[in-house]
Amino acid sequence: MITENLVGEIYLVCGALLFVLGVHALVVRPHLLVKVLAVNIMGSGVFMVLLTAASGPDLIDPVPHALVITGIVVAVCASAVALALMLKVRAATGQARLPSEAPED
């Protein structure tokens, strides 16, 4: 029983850390391709929390499974659009990163 909980906790912590790693890289890394990867890692962290948080002691709850499958498809669509846009940005500005003229202007 203790291990049962421990397993869940390991994955919950992993989910939270993946989310945070993604947030950090999304803000800090300049290259757009890495930013897209970061968004995907963030999403994976959320999915892990979602799947683990509701995997109760005896019954397996199918609802988070369905939600995560939906989330995976949404994520791939968003990534595809982001990558296509990245290529357009690259073609128009000559670089695949956001110009650094600070966001506060």
Binding site: G15, L17, C77
Partner: protein, 224 residues
């Protein structure tokens, strides 16, 4: 160079704090089984035997419907962003890929269809099946970029939208039949769900290939 570094340090600190807070809160989560019980109770009215499929296609079918809509919209968006150059400039030469493909594509189509079919009773379903179909399509495109099948343009658009169209038709049928929008008559649920899943799998497969191509296929820029 010092300013970005400072902001990086700040971001790292903030992210770290967020991580610690998240972990502490997650470890306090109570153990419960979520919606497992209501799902189990409603399974005999769902029309299928597999819980995840029942949730995806019936109980929360509206989510799945909108998700197919997201995929379709993503294809239109990639389309509207304009043509990318066709995926690799040269086809992969040599007999190995051709030979592999001759066997692999039918197998992939079969696997995809099978995955959709068994989704009603066990692990599998439209998305997994569609993804396998999409992968087969991508392989085909990789091998023969110059000779893309010349599907009629309207036909192509129609097939990408097929999943959403069939799902919407079924959903409106449910509304008119008094089972609520996105509902099924219990006797028809199984047949309708399989139909929706098949249509969805085909659309997902084609949609993924089109996203892979970066939107529009050669010779398909006709909307002006």
């Amino acid at each position: 160079m010092s300013r970005p570094r400072l902001s990086h340090v700040l971001t790292s600190l903030l992210a770290g704090a967020l991580g610690v807070a998240l972990v502490l809160i997650l470890l306090e989560l109570p153990a419960h089984s979520g919606l497992a019980e209501p799902v189990t109770e409603a399974m005999d009215r769902s029309g299928v035997g597999h819980e995840v499929t029942a949730v995806l296609l019936n109980f929360r079918g509206y989510d799945t419907f909108l998700e197919l809509a997201v995929l379709l919209l993503a294809v239109w968006v990639a389309w509207s962003l304009g043509r990318q150059d066709p995926v690799p400039a040269r086809s992969v030469r040599g007999p190995v890929l051709r030979g592999t493909l001759r066997h692999l594509v039918p197998v992939a189509v079969l696997t995809g269809g099978y995955l959709v079919w068994v989704g009603a009773s066990t692990t599998g379903g439209a998305f997994q099946g569609g993804a396998v179909l999409g992968a087969a399509g991508v392989m085909l495109v990789l091998a023969r970029p110059r000779s893309l099948p010349r599907v009629p343009r309207l036909g192509l658009r129609f097939v990408v939208a097929l999943g959403v169209l069939v799902f919407l038709a079924s959903g409106v049928g449910g509304l008119l039949g008094g089972h609520g929008f996105m509902g099924y008559h219990p006797d028809w649920a199984y047949a309708l769900i399989v139909a929706v899943e098949l249509a969805a799998a085909v659309s997902i497969g084609l949609g993924l290939v089109l996203l892979f191509l970066g939107g529009r296929v050669q010779g398909d820029d006709d909307d002006h």
